[in-house]
């Protein structure tokens, strides 16, 4: 059994799974139940000057019957009195000394930061997380993403916190910026001990077309909110990886954004995260999902012969390079399994309308000199069954892999390596050799 425990900038946790600062971490009672369920740590719902929230406050995207693929909120930070939160933090830490209790903070002035950090440290909490990310409500008050979007301001404010704190300080970044490296590096320069990302993405999930009010509807109005859930994972993965591979980022990263399964978590860790945080998936299905997060990750590490989470960390980072360093000689071509094809022809129409018209069905002629390994089989099965079995003109196929993504039958369209031993050559190689002029791509 692989060792799931981690050490994140000195923060010890029995596993890499932390609850993100959000409704599931609102109270000590919730957090302690989450620890019982198996969560390794929790980032307390952001403390600060207590707020008033709206009703309703969530929006959601459903895709083909799958609920909450994307989730959006206009909730602010904690609405509970500071003393109550502090008392509960102390109790949670006392009762769960082996779990990571991290407290998220968002206040305004340097004095405010100094005071609240002192109060939180007195509870015995393991670390602080500075919420520079909230994209609604708080930023209008000069906090949250208003700080996270200005690297210089972030550096100053984070610097105040680092100066006042004797426990590790994590800076939580907003994705609502052009280049995540700017706030990330600013946090490192401010002396932060870790980065957390992403917070939510500015969004409107939809519009109630009868009332002509965007979601979520608050009376006759609405406002933009913060987007999260499975839909944001790709954005978060990129930002985590971009920071993790930058040599200036010397501090650990807590990956957040759309994590629902152990696979998602493994991907964040493989791209450089040291811990991961989860919000929407818990709001959807409860604390109990952590059981499979741990179990699945542990079986996965075992199956790869890795003994700890640390061995997985960053494993895929080396393969993440700039476009110009990709191998232009590498070539794949689509292969439709004639036995599995159900004849929907989605691949055919996609290739024709959005690519190079390399997919066919029935005995249409094959261009002279072109290869189509499954053509005869596909035609034979189509003739015998009436199923519009498709086949690929492999010579025409560019290997874009659009068809393999949209095919509804698992394992039916695969991409076969047809590089044929051609030596590696990247765009940058070509520029260096002068076979291409430097210019635009992408």
């Amino acid at each position: 059994m692989a060792d799931l425990s981690i050490d994140f900038a000195g923060i010890k946790s029995p596993n890499p799974f932390w609850l993100a600062s959000a409704p599931p971490t609102n109270t000590g009672e919730q957090i302690m139940r989450a620890f019982d369920a198996g969560w390794g740590g929790a980032v307390w719902k952001t403390l600060g000057e207590p707020v008033v929230d709206t009703s309703s406050r969530f929006g959601a995207i459903e895709v083909g019957g799958q609920r909450m693929v994307g989730f959006n909120n206009i909730e602010l930070i904690t609405d509970r009195p500071l003393e109550v939160n502090l008392r509960e933090i102390r109790e949670a830490k006392r009762r769960y000394p082996r779990h990571a209790v991290i407290v998220s903070l968002m206040v305004e002035t340097q004095d405010d930061w100094r005071t609240i950090i002192q109060q939180v440290e007195d509870t015995g909490a393991d670390a602080l997380e500075l919420n520079f990310g909230c994209p609604h409500g708080m930023c209008e008050r000069g906090m949250g993403s208003a700080v996270g979007q200005e690297p210089e301001v972030l550096k100053t404010v984070a610097g105040w916190a680092v100066e006042s704190a004797s426990i590790p300080v994590l800076v939580k970044l907003t994705p609502n910026i052009g280049d995540i490296l700017e706030p990330g590096v600013a946090a490192v320069e401010a002396g932060a001990h870790g980065l957390s990302l992403i917070n939510t993405i500015k969004s409107i999930t939809g519009v109630d077309l009868d009332r002509m009010v965007p979601y979520p509807v608050v009376g006759e109005r609405s406002t933009n909110g913060g987007y999260c859930g499975p839909a944001v994972k790709p954005i978060a993965l990129h930002m985590v990886a971009a920071l993790a591979r930058d040599p200036r980022v010397t501090i650990p990263i807590s990956g957040i954004g759309g994590i629902s399964t152990w696979r998602d978590a493994a991907e964040f860790i493989a791209l450089g995260a040291s811990s991961v945080q989860v919000c929407t998936a818990v709001m959807h299905r409860g604390f109990r999902i952590v059981e499979d997060l741990c179990d699945g990750l542990s079986h996965f590490l075992d199956s790869k012969g890795m003994r700890s989470v640390a061995e997985l960390r960053g494993k895929a980072l080396g393969a993440y390079v700039e476009w110009g360093d990709l191998d232009l000689s590498y070539k794949v071509s689509a292969h439709v399994d004639p036995a599995k094809c159900i004849g929907c022809e989605l691949c055919l129409v996609a290739c024709r309308d959005a690519s190079v018209d390399a997919i066919h069905t029935g005995p249409v002629p094959l261009a002279a000199g072109h290869v189509a390994a499954t053509r005869d089989q596909a035609i034979a099965r189509a003739a015998g069954s009436g199923v519009h079995v498709t086949w690929v003109d492999e010579t025409a196929c560019t290997g874009c892999n659009l068809c393999s993504h949209l095919c509804p039958v698992p394992g039916c369209i695969t991409m076969k390596d047809v590089t044929g031993g051609k030596p590696f050559e990247s765009w940058n190689d070509r520029i260096a050799k002068g076979t291409h002029k430097a210019g635009h791509h992408g």
């Binding site: 799958q66 399964t261 152990w262 696979r263 299905r285 409860g286 109990r288 999902i289 059981e291 499979d292 179990d295 699945g296 079986h299 996965f300 199956s303 039958v409 698992p410 394992g411």
Partner: protein, 444 residues
């Protein structure tokens, strides 16, 4: 997975799998339909208390090993249960989708997918870690689901557990009785290999009470579990009952499943007498084997039947004629050849074969060979409902012999007895011992 010792050319091999193994895509798609309910009613409805939403979610996330572990710890026979359980009246019958008039989750098929895939990978033996040997010896009488579960759970805790069966093959009715369109005998033997990999030993062809006296079994072991199931088919005491063409249902089914010489040559009209699930199974099997006219005769009405409505419906869809208020009076024979079955109201049903599914005898005599083991008026072994304990401090019992009716209830009986035996023998049970999973988890 194994070189099975079963001969080829068995009638059961002509029947098709009614619910074939899902492909990966099918399994993942079905798993994603599961709502992952809180306090899920399916768990309550499963006699062994498998954490169903949990194992299904693990299929969805691609954690198949964890999925199989979840299933098999609560139910060591989770593979055969996946295939033979009447899920319509158990887990799937309790699925919240029913209340919404939508198709319930195919729990049995998902359970089969997870367990069969792990079996096929040859990794099942490493799923559930075994405790070190503790020197305790356990004997289980009968190698059916109840005994196999008891033996498996105790073997996992380090006992030397041996199952004795008069049949040369292990599995009990899973091997000799369940309908082939649910699971052919190979499935049961494959499951036994998994149990053997946990340390369960099998002594086939040994009849307890004849080949090994009860006293010797008691003397040689620290505890004995009785799981002998039921006895032979009940016969009909009416004229013409003796002779060819009239067979007991379990005897006929066993031959259909295992005996390559069994044949239906010359049978175009068959009658099954009875109103339980064995009767419906036999009728469906005959119809699926191509007997042109199969009639199911029951002495009362459909409402009084103990067989499941969904099974009767399936039988009718397969062409079985169902006849209510049919009370057999005599077998009509010409030159001793069976020609028809005559009812008490004078109706006659021409036929070449009559299969009697009107009950099975009890094995009370075997039970009584064990001192202080009591049986009730119906010949069922009297046990403590919580533990399966009998009047003899060294003897526990479960399964059909104690009134059980399903594979899955037999498994739960075996698991409960395993817990009680471990406690009685002072065997240290690990905190994460599989025997503690599922319903009725009382720390020993």
């Amino acid at each position: 997975m194994s070189a099975t010792p079963l001969p080829q050319g068995r009638l059961e091999q002509q029947l098709e799998d009614g619910k074939p193994l899902y492909t990966e895509g099918e399994a993942v798609a079905e798993a994603h339909r599961c709502l992952f309910c809180h306090d899920a009613p399916c768990i309550t409805a499963c006699p062994t208390g498998i954490d169903i939403p949990r194992f299904i979610r693990k299929i969805g996330t691609g954690n198949l090993r964890g999925s199989a572990q979840t299933i098999l710890s609560a139910n060591l026979l989770g593979y055969s249960c996946a295939r033979v359980c009447p899920v319509e009246v158990l887990c799937a019958g309790a699925c919240v989708y029913n209340a919404w008039e939508r198709t319930p989750i195919a729990i049995g098929r998902l359970q089969r997918y997870a367990t069969e895939t792990l079996f096929a990978q040859g990794e099942a033996g490493t799923l559930l870690p075994r405790a070190a040997a503790n020197g305790k010896r356990i004997a289980c009488v009968g190698a059916g689901p109840a005994s196999l579960a008891a033996a498996g759970y105790l073997a996992l805790e380090g006992c030397e557990a041996t199952v004795f069966d008069r049949n040369p093959l292990p599995g009990g009715l899973n091997t000799t009785g369940v309908a082939p369109y649910k699971m052919p005998a190979e499935g049961s033997l494959r499951e036994f290999e998994f149990l053997a990999s946990l340390g369960v030993r099998f002594e086939g062809g040994v009849e307890v009470g004849r080949d090994v006296p009860a006293a010797k079994l008691l003397a040689d072991h620290d505890a004995v579990f009785l799981g002998p199931g039921l006895g032979g088919d009940t016969t009909l005491a009416i004229p013409g009952a003796e002779g060819a063409g009239v067979q007991g249902a379990t005897a006929w089914i066993e031959r259909m499943k295992l005996d390559p010489t069994a044949s239906l040559a010359g049978v175009t009209r068959a009658i099954v007498v009875g109103g339980g699930n064995t009767a419906i199974d036999a009728a469906r099997e005959l119809a699926q084997l191509g007997v042109a006219e199969v009639s199911l005769l029951y002495r009362r009405t459909q409402a009084d039947m103990s067989g499941y409505a969904h099974e009767l419906e399936a039988a009718r869809a397969e062409g079985v004629r169902f006849v209510e208020r049919a009370v057999p009076a005599a077998f009509v024979r010409e030159n001793s050849v069976l020609k028809a079955l005559r009812l008490s109201d004078g109706r006659e049903f021409p036929c070449e074969l009559v299969v009697l599914a009107i009950g099975q005898a009890s094995l009370a005599a075997l039970a009584q060979a064990f001192p202080d083991v009591a049986t009730d008026a119906k010949g069922r072994i009297v046990v403590d409902a919580e533990t399966g304990a009998t009047g003899n401090a060294k003897v526990w019992a479960g399964g059909d012999a104690t009134g059980g009716e399903l594979v899955v209830t037999g498994v739960q009986d075996g698991k409960r007895a395993a817990r009680a035996i471990a406690k009685a023998l002072g065997i240290p049970v690990r905190d994460d011992a599989p025997m503690l999973a599922g319903h009725g988890t009382v720390r020993t």
